[in-house]
Symmetry: C2
Subunit: 325 residues, 2 copies
């Protein structure tokens, strides 16, 4: 089980590699929330999402023998770009198994960063099996998307920076809202935050239909999603909580929040109109939770992580047009 | 004539009022430029553009008698929002004369901030005359868009922050690129930068057809634009350099850079795709100058100001769709 020292070690490895994204505040958002909302815009991160943090923390700890053999990952797109970018920085060959219907921006960027892309069908193929097969053939290491201590510790640097930046502002957050697919970002961030603050509620936020972590926190055991579930949030479609991430999350998280696709779209429009930030569907769930009143924010200090901004122009335009129509 | 001490005084007035926007760096942009590019995203500023800086610096120095009578401004939209927001913060009534074809986002936000909006026809009406008439009737002060020392000093805090943030990063900028309509932002920023660095080239950037400052810098006297000029950059359509701004700019600026509407559109797409920032046409000209090679950036450190992000969803979607098609 990792602790906050592991996150701090990851932060040292990431110096000069990942951007220390700012902690922003916005009048319109504060007004909508009736309190102070601090925005952690990981869409401004290298590769457009937080994923470079965990990927680099993992790849930089491979032995030189492992590094020579290259790595394989499976990802809906953001982890793919993180792994490809970290590989490019460290001179490690990367192959990534991605759904063939992943956003074009994510597929293109992964290739542009030097990653070898292997596509599969999201609803019939088994990406883990494909990745393991490729890895076995090449003697390559598989880079997990979330269920590994190095990945969790790397993503946790988001929470560590939030803690440091709140301290710089002289603010003590009441709640921190973090999107949750497999749960690596929220597990690592909660670990870092628990190391700095006695009292802060960390909430995972999931899209409707993919609320496995919210339900697992209630039942106390790993719940699964329905195979028929669909969501606009391509980045948050994990089937059940990770083993390691859930062990951390059941100990450190407050109740899970769940948002609809329409609430996500409205949050993306709000971010366009008021924050001037491009946020992808999965990256907007925490903001959606605040705007749709899933948690009390009046008179409080709430932190929302905007985890990524890799969205295709066509989908983005469609969502924005819905507003102007 | 203002000097850097005036900008520093403005910065003290703006503490806790304007956001100290971050200075960002982006891998894809550095790669495109072949050097280091630092981004000053004033689209993340209160009201979505830098204009709150000058407006607040002006309004906060009114006498209580002047403040009671309210103020009048004329603006294509960003100054309007800045004046309305500053008025709301200081309890001063504001009326703003705006073109009837100003972006809807700018009209709506100005009203939402409590500003009284008076519309006119951009190509036939005389906004200055309308503003003066309203002001005379009410005994109100007119808040100039750029040609006033308080406005110039306030906008100059952008340049002051760039100087401070470069120093924090241990970087000495070779060139700073700033959009230029009436020239207040670039005049104030150049004043602040000259106070901190011995050698830095500050370039105004203008849209084709509205290159009055570029031509004035060459001829040494105020040049005017053609009445038939049109540009997508609604925020940068000044007819000639301001008297005060040009007196500063002819002394402190390096050559003017000029970009086409297509180069602006491409820069807006680049910002969407890579920076994850929503930038309006007028806010994208400095980035467009870098991306279209209007200045040598290879091996250098270049700062670009993204001055605002107030663009309607319909126009934004149209520009982004052009890419995906």
């Amino acid at each position: 089980m990792i602790d906050s020292a592991d996150v701090e070690a990851a932060a040292r490895r990431l110096e000069g590699i990942a951007v220390r994204t700012p902690l922003l505040q916005n009048h319109a958002l504060d007004e909508a929330a009736g309190g102070t909302v601090l925005i952690k815009p990981e869409c401004l991160q290298v590769t457009g999402s937080f994923k470079i943090r965990g990927a680099y923390n993992f790849l930089s700890q491979l032995t030189s023998e492992q590094a020579r053999a290259g790595v394989v990952a499976f990802s809906s797109g953001n982890h793919a770009q993180g792994v490809a970018a970290a590989g490019a920085m460290l001179g490690i060959r990367t192959a990534i198994v991605m759904p063939e219907d992943a956003p074009r921006a994510k597929l293109d960027n992964t290739r542009r960063l030097g990653g070898e892309v292997i596509t599969y069908d999201r609803y019939s193929g088994d990406r883990e099996a494909i990745a393991r097969e490729v890895a076995a053939k090449r003697g390559a290491v598989v880079v997990p998307s979330y269920d590994h201590e190095y990945i969790i510790a790397g993503q946790g640097t988001v929470g560590l920076e939030i803690a440091e930046q709140c301290a710089e502002l002289g603010l003590q957050p009441d709640a921190v809202l973090v999107c949750c697919g497999g749960g690596g970002l929220v597990a690592g961030s909660a670990t870092a935050l628990a190391g700095r603050f006695d009292q802060v509620s960390v909430h995972p936020v999931e899209p409707e239909g993919f609320d496995d972590t919210a339900r697992s926190l209630v039942s106390g055991r790993p719940e699964h999603i329905s195979p028929s579930a669909r969501s606009i949030c391509d980045a948050l479609q994990a089937h059940s909580p990770g083993e390691l991430t859930f062990a951390i999350n059941r100990r450190l998280l407050d109740r899970g929040l769940v948002v609809s696709d329409d609430e996500v779209r409205e949050a993306m429009r709000f971010a366009f109109r008021n924050l001037k930030l491009v946020v992808e569907p999965g990256g907007a769930v925490a903001l959606a939770a605040v705007l749709s009143g899933k948690i009390e924010t009046a008179g409080k200090t709430t932190v929302v992580v905007l985890s990524g901004g890799n969205v295709d122009a066509a989908l983005y335009g469609e969502i924005q047009r819905a507003e102007s129509g």
